[in-house]
């Protein structure tokens, strides 16, 4: 899953360690999410969305275009 975490972090001039402290996770967790090696859990994704004041889908992109209408 692609994400904008690195860009959002850079815009705020935060290091990975600073972002990790704000999320109360390890620096390795931030690095793994940024590099796409790990997809965060839903609670952590919500935490990120609240921290950056953005909807989750603007931070994370699963590669699917448009909306799924359930059909």
């Amino acid at each position: 899953m692609n994400n904008q975490l690195k860009v959002l972090r850079a815009m705020r001039n935060w290091s990975q360690a600073e972002l990790a402290d704000r999320l109360d996770v390890s620096r390795q967790a931030v690095n793994a999410i940024e590099t796409g090696k790990y997809d965060p859990s839903l609670p952590l994704a919500f935490k990120l969305a609240r921290l950056f004041a953005m909807p989750i889908e603007e931070i994370f992109d699963d590669g699917h275009e448009g909306h799924d209408d359930g059909h």
Binding site: D21, D24, V25, S26, A32, L44
Partner: protein, 212 residues
């Protein structure tokens, strides 16, 4: 002095966050020092010279390691105070687990059974056996309770994958070894060798998913 103070005011340098590799290095150094004493004693015994008491080396190494650790904690006291309760408890659980393993290894190596190796099946006094069993069970329950309450999602995943790999490293070779032994094609099954294999595989997979 005045010039130095002025420079510091203009260009304040933030103190670096404490590196968690330092306590790991201190632990390894302590273990190596204790091992050095054990090696000295072994070679002294083999050559017929007087060996120092088996508890002196480990005690000296632990005391030195303790002093180094205390200095490290004191130097970074402000950083440690700013940690979240989760992070603090996490490191307490990790250090407690490491200390348990270290003390267990130390006791196993310093007794008369130590010369046969850490995972040998040589005889042991009941007091040491009961003491180590209690230390292992109670200590691990406390450390793991703290650990599982404080790890984040990413580490939980690494832990689970490592645990699964360790489980497979036990359940795959164990019955194979057992049936081969029954056919007289292999020596009797040694649980401690399988335990060690399981732990090594667990550690490799855990560290891979945690730090890759």
């Amino acid at each position: 002095m005045a010039m130095k103070d002025m420079t510091m005011d203009i260009d304040p340098k933030p103190r670096r966050a404490p590196s968690m590799w330092v306590p790991v290095a201190i632990g390894l150094g302590t273990a190596m020092l204790a091992g050095g004493f054990a090696g000295y004693n072994q070679s002294a015994t083999e050559s017929g010279e007087a060996a120092i008491a088996p508890w002196v080396g480990p005690l000296f190494a632990v005391a030195l390691g303790g002093i180094a650790l205390a200095l490290y904690v004191r130097r970074h006291a402000d950083s440690f105070r700013s940690w979240s309760p989760r992070k603090r408890l996490y490191w307490i659980s990790v250090i407690l687990s490491g200390a348990l393993g270290f003390v267990t290894a130390l006791v196993l190596q310093t007794g008369p059974q130590g010369a046969d190796g850490l995972l040998s099946n040589s005889a042991m006094t009941p007091n040491i056996a009961i003491g180590l069993s209690l230390l292992w069970i109670v200590g691990l329950i406390v450390a793991l309770f703290l650990y599982h309450r404080t790890i984040d999602d990413h580490e939980r995943r690494a832990y689970h994958l490592g645990a699964l790999a360790g489980f497979y490293a036990f359940v795959m070779p164990c019955p194979v070894w057992w049936v081969l032994w029954r056919a007289d094609l292999a020596p009797p099954v040694d649980a401690m060798q399988l335990f060690a294999l399981s732990l090594i595989v667990n550690g490799i997979v855990y560290f891979w998913f945690k730090f890759r």
